[in-house]
């Protein structure tokens, strides 16, 4: 397995993580903690200037990879992208993979990310397969078929450039239950990005799921959580805030934590052991988004890898 670190935690607010020195300090922090590849996350606009290939080009020109190298980062492992995320570069279009009429536009909107990954040697487009559950009715078998079709098309585009597509399960997504996730996998040929904390919050045991579907897992995001959805919290209107920012319900303002956190629900050792047992050779991206201080968390995650997973790596 290959290890990388997700950059998303540094970009925790619209107007932060904009200046070159901020980027350099983050990359140096990640490098100092022993990671030499990073996962980027899609965004929009002038302040999300590592969030889209065109912004990166405006920002760094041809110096992006050299800049990474100067900071001790050898490359980009992957790019997280949600086709339903509003982006000014896409005219703030509201698109859903559940809507066949949006499919052509979704496939086209994937191309810049695929091209970028191919150019920088990244291997995985990590994609949100479907929008949040609270914004629509439960997914049906027909929905899963429609969703699978568009990802197969994106997968073909990406494969032509030597890039893989990995669908990322998240705890708010309309594909929520284990049966729904298995239905999605059955409806598409592309891989799965298994996020240990997101699955746990969603009520799916990541270790058991991985052992059952190891052949489909093409990407891993490793993080912990102290909480699981109590039932239907993910269906609360505005669950991005009402659930994951504690705006309603149990008022939990932080769900995701570093590896080894007290009270963590993810059996990280068992999960990494399962990866080893199945000979997983893809990226394992350690992630600490929606947490606290980014540098503190990457250091704690490195400590955990060094001290708690040493025998497994």
């Amino acid at each position: 397995m290959k290890w990388a670190y997700a950059l998303n935690q540094w970009n925790f607010r619209m107007d932060v993580f904009v200046r070159h020195e901020d980027h350099a300090r983050a990359f140096k922090t990640i490098a100092a903690c022993g990671f030499d590849h990073v996962e980027l996350a899609a965004g929009t606009g002038r302040w999300d200037n590592l969030g889209r290939p065109e912004q990166i080009a405006l920002n760094y020109g041809d110096d992006f990879r050299p800049m990474l190298n100067r900071c001790g980062i050898r490359g980009v492992s992957s790019f997280f992208w949600d086709p339903g995320q509003f982006a000014e570069e896409e005219g703030w279009a509201f698109r859903s993979t559940r809507n066949p009429a949006d499919h052509d536009a979704i496939v086209e909107s994937a191309r810049p990310f695929v091209d970028f990954l191919a150019a920088v040697g990244g291997s995985q487009l990590v994609a949100r397969p479907v929008g949040p559950a609270w914004m629509g009715p439960p997914v049906s078998a027909d929905d899963l078929k429609v969703i699978g079709e568009v990802w197969n098309r994106v997968g073909e585009v990406a494969a032509a450039s030597g890039v893989g597509v990995s669908l990322h399960y998240d705890c708010l997504g309309a594909v929520h239950s284990r049966a729904e996730l298995e239905g999605l996998l059955a409806a598409t040929d592309v891989g799965l990005a298994l996020d240990t904390a997101e699955l746990t919050v969603g009520g799916i045991d990541p270790v058991d799921f991985y052992r059952s579907h190891a052949g489909r897992v093409t990407h891993v995001q490793l993080k912990d959580t102290r909480f699981a959805d109590a039932g239907e919290e993910y269906r609360m209107p505005g669950a991005e805030s009402t659930m994951l920012k504690g705006g309603a319900g149990r008022r939990i303002e932080r769900w995701f934590y570093e590896l080894g956190t007290e009270g963590g629900l993810v059996d990280v050792k068992a999960f990494v052991g399962a990866l080893r047992d199945h000979g997983y050779d893809g990226w394992v991206v350690v992630e600490s988004d929606q947490g606290g201080n980014p540098a503190e968390l990457v250091m704690l995650n490195r400590w955990y890898l060094n001290h708690e997973l040493r025998g497994l790596l």
């Binding site: 002038r46 805030s241 920012k245």
Partner: protein, 310 residues
């Protein structure tokens, strides 16, 4: 004088420093802090409207919460296209229908409110995306805001133009030409004291010359005039300028360049009776705090500007 607050804020959360729209509890605390300082108007961004409607049941519901805390109303809505895209670019006429439609959507979102007065717009996108800035391009932008101005008036709001130091309309000559091309019945002037100062334009003189079209202010300060062409920095001069990491400061800091007492004298002399808005943009840079910056600015209002206005 009526003081309003422009909706920039950062609050500490378990997910790090976030805007108070993080959740309803943080939003309530933010409004209470502004209330404690006596602000009675609230200006916000078009993109915040759905969030506030969601938290308080509706946008009028949010305004009622403001009113329960001593505010009179939501006074202004800020709408902007800082980055030009193929879909929305004020200097590209082919995108105007889309921009007008966007504006109409925002205006409809404001229905049921007590009475928003200002529809505040950035008349242009970033300078580097528009250059070369020609008279023709300024005319195209003026034509757009003339259209929008007629639309917003029909909804009871005045289209008022807020110029950025990094925008395509930034010099005094460009500003004058823009106002020459726009219809004074439909397009008004919003005076951001720091932005003009950074661009090398005297905001006091600007207000004096356009007082009859001025419908609002952002009272904020700066320590730097852009003398090195930072306004052309791609993709964003506001946060990425090579030599200046923080452009904006609250009133009353050492090194501030805006002559607020002189501006206040001009305002009083003009008979202006609209809202005066305090804005703190990026106040946290360098370890600052929005709460403390707002207190310091209010102290300056009460102890310096009030004396001038008396």
């Amino acid at each position: 004088m009526k003081w309003s607050y422009m909706d920039h804020w950062v609050t500490e959360t378990p997910q790090g420093p976030q805007p108070p729209s993080f959740n309803r509890a943080h939003m309530d605390r933010y409004v209470k802090q502004l209330s404690a300082l006596g602000f009675t108007g609230f200006d916000t961004f078009f993109f915040s409207l759905p969030m506030y409607a969601g938290m308080y049941g509706s946008l009028p519901g949010f305004e009622r919460f403001l009113q329960d805390n001593g505010f009179e109303k939501i006074t202004g809505i800020f709408s902007a296209y800082p980055s030009a895209t193929k879909f929305q670019a004020p200097h590209v006429r082919e995108t105007h229908d889309r921009i007008v439609a966007d504006c109409e959507y925002t205006l409809r979102a404001c229905e049921g409110l007590t009475g928003v007065e200002n529809f505040i717009v950035m008349p242009s996108s970033t300078y580097f995306q528009v250059e070369p800035v020609t008279d023709d391009k300024i005319k195209v932008m003026a034509d757009l805001w003339n259209r929008v101005g007629q639309l917003t008036l029909a909804h009871g709001q005045k289209t008022t133009c807020h110029f950025e130091f990094w925008g395509a309309i930034r010099t005094r000559a460009q500003l004058d030409l823009f106002f020459e091309y726009t219809d004074p019945r439909y397009v008004y002037f919003f005076c951001d004291t720091a932005q003009h100062t950074i661009a090398g334009v005297d905001p006091v003189r600007m207000f004096r010359d356009y007082a009859d079209r001025c419908t609002g202010f952002h009272f904020k300060d700066t320590h730097d005039v852009d003398t090195e062409g930072a306004y052309r920095t791609p993709p964003d001069p506001e946060l990425m300028a090579p030599t200046v990491s923080r452009w904006f400061y609250e009133m009353g800091t050492e090194g501030g360049l805006v002559d607020f007492p002189a501006l206040m004298r001009e305002i009083v002399a003009s008979g202006y009776d609209g809202w005066l808005t305090v804005e703190h943009d990026k106040a946290e840079l360098g370890g600052g705090s929005y709460a403390e910056a707002t207190c310091v600015a209010k102290w300056y209002i009460d102890h310096v500007l009030a004396e001038v206005a008396r």
